[in-house]
């Protein structure tokens, strides 16, 4: 019987297989950041162990880094200690690091792909659940805990429990104004926050094949929000074109050998998935969340749901809690929900295409009075590219704040936070209680919806803007 993409990548990395033991898998790429690594390095130090493969390890600073005044010492002493700890550990153990101020610094899941380190058929891990992002390249990529970070540092392997496979087949074409973000929010609303548990998801079908690499990353990024071990997309010409010429992509004969290998990775015709989900792309619309977990979402055109409409008792209670926290009334049209803040950024939607999409909508417009909008590029490279294209000017002219690269308001570990009760349309991936700041209320949206929402001051799609504005969007997209 044929094998799936995930099974092929897994099989190619088995270091040791023994009856009654989990497979020991080799790890091709280990990404580190400041939050989940200090205790792991401490463990190495205590045991007197070195990092086994510094040539397969790379660190960046992202979660704690400020997005303003980055040339000044970091104000929060605890954040500063954590960043200094990573720098010290990297120096002591010989690990490559991109610190604040470095041109390759940025959110770890933006940095790996843009350097060309994330490649098809590799195993990628990081002490961060959104490592699933890298699956967009056909890599088997997953988040790990700090004990596992230490394990990979020491051995470059991980003992891993077997997984099940789920195909999410999306056929058709995404309608105008509907993005990868809307698609993945709809998938999570459909299968639930635990629906992917134990599974590696493979996104396939014509709608997926038609997506750019960046859009594919948005989808794989949020696989974890469905509880999945990982999300993957088979590598194809789009993948190869994205990788070719990147600093760490193979060169010359190695490139040819790599592409030949990558082409063998796709799921075999006769392979069987443990579970199948089908989605019609043509029926999708802009999607937003109304609750406090990413599965609590609905089409933008819908109303805030009535908790009584949930048959399942747990879901009903969860919806009641969520509406209380979010300060929403059942039955309110989502389009009437007013926001105080808009955040464009994160490893979900902080790449150049996302910034272009938001800028195209903001071009020649102002954000609504009283709305604060933060645009935070996912990496310094993304920021430089945006500046080269003049996008930063578009954002500031519209009244938004153009910031330095990092995780920022995605989780509010740095000063970028919501105040209690503030409501935010955010292109990030988690709407958990307090995620963007204590008492903050988050609605997950696409960059397009974020920009339109900023302009109108309420949850909105680009199509809600006046025809005038729409034609200017059309214009700048073509330009």
């Amino acid at each position: 019987m044929g094998r799936t993409l995930a099974e092929k990548v897994w099989d190619d990395h088995v270091v040791r297989r023994a009856e009654g033991e989990p497979d020991l898998l080799f790890i091709d790429l280990h990404l580190l950041h400041e939050v989940t690594s200090p205790q792991a390095f401490d463990g190495l130090r205590l045991a007197g162990r070195p990092v086994r493969r510094t040539d397969l390890t790379i660190a960046t600073e992202d979660h704690n880094t400020p997005t303003l005044d980055i040339d000044k010492p970091i104000a929060d002493p605890v954040s500063r200690v954590q960043l200094e700890t990573l720098r010290r550990n990297a120096a002591e153990f010989g690990v490559r690091i991109h610190s604040l101020g470095d041109v390759e610094q940025g959110v770890v899941h933006v940095v790996g792909p843009q350097l060309g380190l994330t490649q098809p058929g590799t195993t990628v891990v990081c002490g961060d659940s959104h490592t699933s992002t890298h699956g967009a390249f056909g890599a088997l990529a997953f988040g790990i805990g700090t004990s596992q970070v230490e394990h990979v540092l020491a051995t470059q392997t991980l003992p891993l429990a077997p997984f099940r496979t789920m195909a999410i087949t999306v056929e058709g074409e995404l309608p105008e104004g509907v993005t990868a973000k809307d698609l993945i929010l709809a998938v999570i609303a459909r299968i639930g926050t635990g629906g992917g548990q134990g599974y590696v998801l493979e996104y396939r079908g014509s709608a997926i094949r038609g997506l750019s690499m960046e859009a594919r990353m948005t989808i794989c990024n949020m696989s974890i929000e469905a509880g999945a071990r990982a999300g993957m997309i088979a590598p194809d010409e789009t993948t190869f074109a994205y990788l070719e010429g990147r600093p760490h992509a193979p060169k010359g004969e190695d490139w040819d050998a790599a592409v030949a290998y990558w082409k063998t990775l796709g799921t075999d015709e006769d392979a069987v998935f443990d579970h199948d989900i089908f989605i019609d792309a043509n029926e999708l619309t802009p999607f937003v969340t109304w609750g406090t977990n990413p599965g609590q979402g609905a089409p933008l055109g819908a109303n805030v749901p009535d908790p009584a409409s949930f048959a399942d008792l747990q879901e009903r209670q969860a919806a009641e809690n969520a509406l209380t926290y979010m300060g929403l009334e059942a039955g309110t049209p989502l389009r009437e929900v007013k926001v105080d803040a808009v955040f464009v950024g994160s490893c979900t939607n902080g790449r150049i295409e996302d910034l272009r999409a938001a800028a195209a909508i903001l071009e020649g417009r102002r954000i609504a009075d009283g709305v604060r909008m933060l645009v935070v590029p996912g990496s310094v490279r993304v920021a430089l590219q945006a500046v080269e294209e003049g996008l930063d000017k578009v954002f500031t002219a519209a009244g938004a704040e153009w910031r330095h690269a990092g995780c920022s308001m995605c989780l509010g570990m740095n000063p970028d936070q919501l105040a209690p009760g503030e409501r935010c349309a955010s292109t990030s991936n988690r709407n958990f209680e307090g995620r963007q700041g204590k008492g903050g209320r988050t609605h997950l949206v696409s960059p397009q919806v974020a920009a339109a929402t900023a302009v109108l001051g309420r949850l909105a799609a680009p199509s809600d803007l006046t025809p005038d504005a729409l034609s200017s969007i059309q214009h700048s997209v073509e330009a």
């Binding site: 270091v15 040791r16 009654g20 989990p22 080799f26 091709d28 790429l29 939050v35 989940t36 200090p38 205790q39 401490d42 045991a47 510094t54 040539d55 397969l56 390890t57 790379i58 979660h63 929060d76 605890v78 200690v81 954590q82 490559r96 380190l117 994330t118 490649q119 961060d128 659940s129 988040g143 790990i144 805990g145 700090t146 004990s147 596992q148 230490e150 020491a154 051995t155 392997t157 429990a161 926050t193 635990g194 548990q197 134990g198 509880g227 071990r229 600093p247 760490h248 193979p250 490139w255 747990q314 879901e315 969860a318 989780l411 509010g412 570990m413 209680e433 307090g434 995620r435 204590k438």
Partner: protein, 203 residues
């Protein structure tokens, strides 16, 4: 890692589903660079509310958390496990755990036990009606035991991978086990294709 064989203690019923790791330990706690001292951060936002279950006098000293489904979703932060342990929990019972959280807990000796939702409901009912009721989590027998509401004792068996159980029972650390197979790792490394990525700066 400490061994886990069997544990008996009073319980905290947490009637909530989708308890994500941002609730278990909020992000600002993650700036610490140690594995200890997270107890005050556990469920920090909810603990501001005096009536929150963890704040009730009758729950002080409880060591078994009985939670709703999808416990531990979200971020991979192992700090969530450390916070539960630092606070004094030895075991968490739920009908479903998020994968990464479960993996993290078992690597630290915090036993996460999967039981059917009906059993979780019975445990909730039991410990709500009698906060002094004790729950035993027996890893050797792979069984959870407690008194019954109606006098019939509850005994529910649970599944746990043999290998994981063996490691927990013996308190073995994964890294030393893996390093016993160092020769296998070296052999694998010798066969890796040259096109695989390397992080060393490109000239």
């Amino acid at each position: 890692m400490e061994k886990f064989t069997t544990h008996t203690g009073r319980a905290v019923p947490l009637r909530r589903s989708n308890v994500d790791t941002d609730q278990i330990i909020p992000a600002h706690w993650l700036k610490k660079v140690t594995r200890s001292g997270f107890e005050d951060g556990l469920f920090e936002a909810w603990r501001k509310d005096e009536s929150f279950i963890l704040n009730r006098p009758e729950r002080q000293g409880a060591t078994v958390l009985v939670a709703g489904p999808e416990f531990g979703t979200g971020s991979s932060r192992e700090h969530a496990v450390w916070a539960l342990q630092n606070y004094g929990f030895h075991a968490v019972i739920s009908s479903r755990f998020a994968d990464i959280f479960r993996g993290n807990s078992l690597k630290n000796g915090l036993l996460t036990v999967v039981l059917p939702q009906e059993t979780v409901e019975r445990l909730w009912a039991l410990t709500e009606s009698d906060p002094t009721a004790e729950i035993t989590v027996d890893l050797e027998a792979r069984e959870v035991r407690a008194g019954g509401l109606d006098g019939t004792p509850l005994a529910a068996s649970f599944e746990l991978d043999d290998n994981v159980r063996w490691r927990l029972l013996n308190g073995l650390d994964d890294i030393s086990i893996t390093l016993q197979n160092e020769a296998d790792i070296a052999a694998f490394e010798a066969t890796r294709p040259s096109f695989k990525p390397r992080t060393l700066p490109v000239a």
